[in-house]
Symmetry: C2
Subunit: 422 residues, 2 copies
């Protein structure tokens, strides 16, 4: 039986018919090298923005069920065009949307998780010699409701398909050469990494590196999918391979640094210091599907017996978060305000090598202190340290950390266009 390669192309890679022809060539090249090929694509370029703009003509908060119906048409267009482009180059191809494949998700709109993928239809068509083109970003519930997977969903579709099909490799094509030690638009001499572990990539992704969505890396790690990030414009370059940490030799304590400008900090002030309060707050946010990143609870004040709970959420979730907290006010009985601070950035250093090397954290804090940057929150994991700083300091912090941990390359990164939309 032939090996299966899953390829994924984001919105910028299929932004117009000329670019779709290029994607067709890359799919055919892989097919010609003797493999079976499944191609996962996102909606064309700015389609999603255009659709969202129309929806906003009716309501600032359109029904998420109808929003999923609307947005899922985007990939419907790109899969059909790509299949036509492949056929026009003399190869057999067929396109399927998520409903046709059976990419089954939980019954949640706009951020659904994949539960199961049926593989019969894809396998039958691969066996018939076809290149199979599948819509990314979308799914369907058991009841036939159309869902979408949220930001970065197409990466997750591709990795989940690769896992379900037991694929040899999942290639995520972007318009950069691979995964860099930091954002090459900010630090031009960022180094391209040949390899990185799932764990490091996951932290990098969580820390704001736009190249892969965290959920796709999680899924790849869980099913041991061989994931590669590579360039649509330079397919000779092998890009960056993402694999299990046990296979890697670690030379540097820090693999990469990243800044995330999309977070906002909320502080719930004067919360009664009694058991169960934090559980109530974060339980109710979880129920609304709001992801919370950093959390800090201050020591209880002796006089009032209250404390402050601060946490960060994605900027786009602020309104939902505030309304969820308002509903809780009576139940929890917090007395103070809720403060919202959008002027923040999370700066992180990531590296599997920092586990057994002391002094990494202090080097980070010292570097920031030398730049007179105030650290407002800190969170750490085994292979990551994140500091919340003022937004306008993020770029300086990133550059300094990239330098102090010796991540610079001796050449300038080749970045074409924007980073991929997913």
């Amino acid at each position: 039986m032939k090996k299966i390669i899953v390829q994924k192309f984001g919105g910028t890679s299929v932004a117009d018919t000329e670019k779709i022809k290029n994607v067709a060539k890359l799919a055919i090249k892989e097919k010609e090298s003797g493999n079976d090929v499944v191609v996962v694509v996102s909606a064309m370029g700015h389609t999603t923005d255009y659709l969202v703009k129309m929806a906003k003509d009716f309501s600032t908060v359109p029904s998420s069920r109808e929003m999923d119906m609307l947005l899922s048409t985007g990939e419907g267009v790109s899969i059909a065009l790509l299949a036509m482009a492949i056929q026009a180059q003399g190869y057999d191809a067929v396109s399927f949307n998520a409903m046709q494949v059976g990419i089954i998700t939980e019954n949640v709109h706009s951020k659904a998780r994949i539960i199961d993928i049926k593989t019969d239809k894809i396998r039958n068509n691969l066996n018939a010699g076809k290149i199979v083109v599948v819509a990314g970003f979308q799914g369907v519930t058991e009841d036939g409701e159309i869902t979408t997977l949220g930001r970065g969903g197409s990466d997750t579709s591709a990795v989940a398909l690769a896992a379900a099909l037991n694929a040899e490799r999942c290639d995520i094509y972007t318009d950069v050469e691979g995964v860099y030690t930091t954002d090459p638009r900010v630090v031009p001499n960022a180094s391209k990494l040949d390899k990185i572990s799932y764990e490091e990539m996951l932290e990098l992704a969580h820390a704001g590196a736009n190249v892969l969505h965290p959920r796709s890396v999680e899924t790849a790690k869980q099913f041991n999918v061989h994931l590669r990030v590579r360039s649509s414009f330079n397919s000779e370059n092998k890009g960056t391979l993402i694999q299990g940490v046990e296979k890697m030799e670690i030379y540097k304590p820090v693999a990469g640094v990243a800044a995330d400008l999309s977070q906002a900090r909320l502080v719930v002030c004067d919360v009664p210091d009694k058991p169960g309060t934090a559980a109530k707050i974060f339980g109710s946010l979880a129920k609304e599907n709001i992801s919370v990143d950093m959390i800090i609870q201050s020591y209880a004040r002796k006089v009032s017996n209250t404390n402050d709970i601060a946490f960060t959420v994605d900027m786009s979730d602020i309104d939902k978060t505030l309304s969820a907290l308002k509903k809780l006010k009576e139940d929890i009985g917090y007395e103070g305000d809720i403060q919202v601070d959008k002027n923040i950035a999370k700066v992180s250093i990531i590296g599997a090598g920092m586990i057994d090397r002391p002094g990494i954290a202090s080097t980070m804090f010292e570097t920031l202190a030398n730049l007179d940057i105030n650290i407002r929150m800190i969170s750490t994991s085994e292979i990551k340290i994140s500091c919340l700083v003022d937004k306008e300091k993020a770029e300086d912090a990133l550059k300094a950390l990239h330098k102090v941990f010796k991540l610079e390359s001796d050449k300038t990164a080749d970045v074409k266009g924007d980073l991929p939309q997913v």
Copy 2:
């Protein structure tokens, strides 16, 4: 149980978000009057043209399977936006594409016929108080392949849904006031008809009147669906009711006249005069899904024992027709050329009243003769007479026939924009 009204809106009625808001109002008005409402919509305005243009960047004849995948996204956009527009006005709504509803068609791409419509999902949502928005023009096979119904498909979707749901009425909204005695863009004092029979409407539609697609009228007749053509811009006007002929009183012999400029005439020359030849020719065209309209076979020539077979097909089917005929050449053994004439128009008069009134045909021929118009083919049915004439004479013929059969109104028709795209 409440009565169900099916409403259908074509591409021009949902061309932008402002127009979609107007459609939402019409749906809500019907709901407010105490009925359950199912709305069928086409793709927005020029979406289809835009999608076709992209497809042509890859191939002049893209795969019809992928073309159906591509075009079906058009209604995916309009249904979601309409549901949002209704919700924004404070009413509950839900959109479904053909796959979700279960609008089952035969397994033919680009021109599929509806076999069955599942009504559970629609009924459950109507019973829950929702306005249900359904994608027109598209269907799905038993195997989950997406199909489209061809030109005028959304009319057919609406009528078939009305039949399946046993609806009280099916309202086809357009940007004209109803069905006219002829095209009001050509003859400004054309009269709007209050009523017309299925049979007449069918012949008018076949004769080139753009207001309703023949298949939708056929379906309405078969299931006795009360069909109304009315204006999206003037919903006070009751439009034209299309119903069984037995219910109508006929005052005029001719109900309407029409010209069809989309046909081409083909002549297969020197065909051996033996049994089965015509069956072979038209059988092979039917197999290719090519609709043939007028057919004339000349008397056999005594010397060569051959004759000529002339017929008309839709302009867009010329290439397919020629290639089908070429394949037959050896089998049939015709010796002459195939002549193609695109410079023709079919001019028709239609009226259930002509059955028992002699002299209608001769009045038609005489009117054309007075204008020095040569009649190149004639075909008749019980309630229709069609003449093939040179294309540049069609407008003069239409005007003269409209006048001679006393179809003029004393006011000028109010035509907004183009006739509806379906």
